[in-house]
Amino acid sequence: MTHSHDGHVHPHEHEHATDVEPDPAVDLGIDDGALSRLQLGRRNFLRAAGLLGAGVASMGVLPTVSAAADDAPRRSREGGFRWLAGDHHIHTQYSPDGQYRVIDHVRHAHAFGLDWMVITDHGSAQHARIGVEKVNPDIVAARDAVEDILVFQGLEWNIPAAEHGTVFVHPGPNEVAVLKAFENNYDGVVTATTTSNPGNEAVAVSGLQSLSIAVANRDVKDALMFANHPARKGLDSPHEIRGWRDAAPGIAVGMEGAPGHQAAGIAAPTGPGAGRGFYDNSPSSSSFPAYPLASYRTYGGFDWMTSTVGGLWDSLLSEGKPWWITANSDSHQVWSDTSVRGAGSDFATNGFFNDPEHATAPQLGNGDFWPGYYSRTHVGAEDFSYAAVMRGLREGRVWVDHGALIDALDVRLRAGDREVPLGGVLTARQGSPVQLVIRIRTASVPNWTQVVPKLAKVDVIRGDVTGDATDRDSFTAPGTKVVQTFDVSAQTGVISLSYDLGPLSGGFYVRLRGSDGNRLAPGLGGAAVDPAGPQLDVVGDADPWKDLWFYSNPMWALPRR
């Protein structure tokens, strides 16, 4: 089925490998004066973002780079973060498959406990012409109308040659202008570049670089991109993901670990009776041919790239480069809501649906939840501000959960008196004992289905840092596995756990995962790798509230040279 692709895949790899390797902007051996204007802009951006020479930054966390960054900056920031829950994937009446006003989403998100949210209507001809501007006053008004929630304007980018992604910017006078220019120049639908081929893949990379430049030029204070529902249709190949990450480090920083549409698997007639996350597609001519059929479905509500221990996410992390996961609602039309799209709407002409109207019947065919109702992305921020949320996301101080499984998660990687939080890079002498210290506050109040969820177990996942992938289409990390499972089913309140990771020799990373224990099965890599991981979600019968997980982002430990 895929034979004819073979001759084409390999040339792409080489192009990408040479495309992304030398980046003068991050090579501090080159003077500012020797850089082109674009390169200097990019360097200034990285500098401003605290990313240049700062370890995780541009080229990864490998010892040669991170040694420069060693101590102080990260240590001063440890602990004391304000953990802000949010959602970076929300659609309004300005999406061709949306329904709600901005204020409908903002009020619900706030009521359901979110601190930040991103409005991400689909890129389209109508949106580029009308929606991207028209949604802005609605967002500005909502920022005023509802206090204590940060409302970003963004876009659901049709990534050229690939899937969708969230792109969003720091609020400011140019937020619309930057997003509009980006959409007109780089959206796959607007520019007819959705077809999977090398030329269109290059358009995606250029788009991300244009965001770096927009930030460097101070057109906007900040910009971020996350790949959305990455494995849904097999469109995001491993080399494309690596290409985005390496072309715009600090801008392209991660992907949805769990897609939205989490009500889609509720059995009919109570729910849509589809695949959880609406993951119900098959490989197409645009899919990456090496992805297995198993990659097209969710596991415990999470995307295969994230849920597979030793899978694609781990293959990225084992390179020693940051790539973070999030969990979002992708809210378009909410399950059991009693409103419908406004009558007399003409989206093609107007670029929006009329305001929603009351329907007596609950809309049980809808597959989404309100923002904050089920999926949460928790960001460790220095303060309550747009800039701090974006910085926390960029630095990977992020964990995610479903159904409010736990109240709080504090994880430190420690060696002697040095420690780092989630997303951090701990450097220590060879042979230093490394310890993982975990504090979990279990759910103290009911979630939005009026149940207090119960955490049953916590898994520690560990993998070695093996350096840059020689095959940029690799999606396995053979050494990564679950190294410890804590049964915490008898505990509530604050659970304190620690795990000795042994004396530091080679670089490694750890990440955490926890479950309500309701649906467990050996992982796709076998029981030796993941004895009790998430189960394949049952198509047409996946009650999301009966299968709850949290995932943390990784932390690295590297020997000092």
Binding site: M1, H3, S4, H5, D280, S282, S285, S286, V539
Partner: protein, 211 residues
């Protein structure tokens, strides 16, 4: 002209030339299936038997798309050529391979040739029509799928063979894959302990119009 195209595996000869192919640049599986069914309808109208039709991924001019291959007995090469030409006439671009000979835009020959070879070997391909498929209506036990159709194995996508007693809810839409000479139907767990085929007849559409 009495030469006939022949179903691979029926013992009447397995020359690659006997599998024919048509490429109309179908961008989606739905479009490819429509081509496949149009071909089948025409062939059956001519009394063809043992009809096997499959789709294959091809890349030409950086445009990923699906080709369609067909084999059957009881029809002549001339009849097959006529059938594929009639179906192809409805499209702007059409390339054919019939009895080993190509026609149409040469950029599409490589993909068509590979597709025909894959069909002949039963090495790769997504099979739309195959002997016994008419028995896969409603719910059928896995054992009966294997006993009564050309499907050799039913596998769960997480990697195990399906229990023969498990009911397969076919949704009247079954697209097994050739894998190294075997026809394998991939399936996934569904409501009430049943299985459904991996490929969904009506997958959730996507705003971006990706194929």
């Amino acid at each position: 002209m009495t030469q006939t195209t022949t179903l691979p595996g029926t013992g009447t000869g397995l020359a690659s030339a006997r599998v024919c192919g048509i490429d109309v640049l179908s961008r989606t599986l739905r479009e490819a299936d429509a081509v496949a069914h149009a071909v089948v309808q025409e062939l059956r109208g001519l009394g063809a038997r043992n009809v096997v039709v499959a789709t294959h991924v091809a890349v030409s001019c950086d445009l990923p798309h699906h080709t369609v291959t067909v084999s059957a007995s009881g029809v002549t090469v001339t009849e097959t050529r006529s059938v594929l030409s009639v179906v192809g006439d409805q499209f702007d671009v059409v390339a054919l391979i019939i009895d080993g000979s190509f026609s149409g835009p040469p950029e599409l020959y490589d993909g068509l040739g590979r597709a025909v070879s894959a069909h002949t070997r039963r090495g790769e391909g997504r099979v739309v029509v195959f002997p016994g498929d008419h028995r896969l209506i409603g719910t059928v036990a896995v054992a009966d799928v294997i006993a009564n159709t050309d499907v050799d194995r039913v596998r769960v996508i997480t990697g195990t063979d399906a229990d023969p007693a498990t009911p397969l809810v076919t949704r009247d839409f079954v697209r097994p894959l050739w894998e190294d000479g075997l026809l394998v139907l991939h399936a996934q767990p569904a409501i009430g302990g049943s299985l459904v085929p991996f490929e969904t007849p009506f997958p959730t559409p996507c705003c971006a119009n990706h194929s």
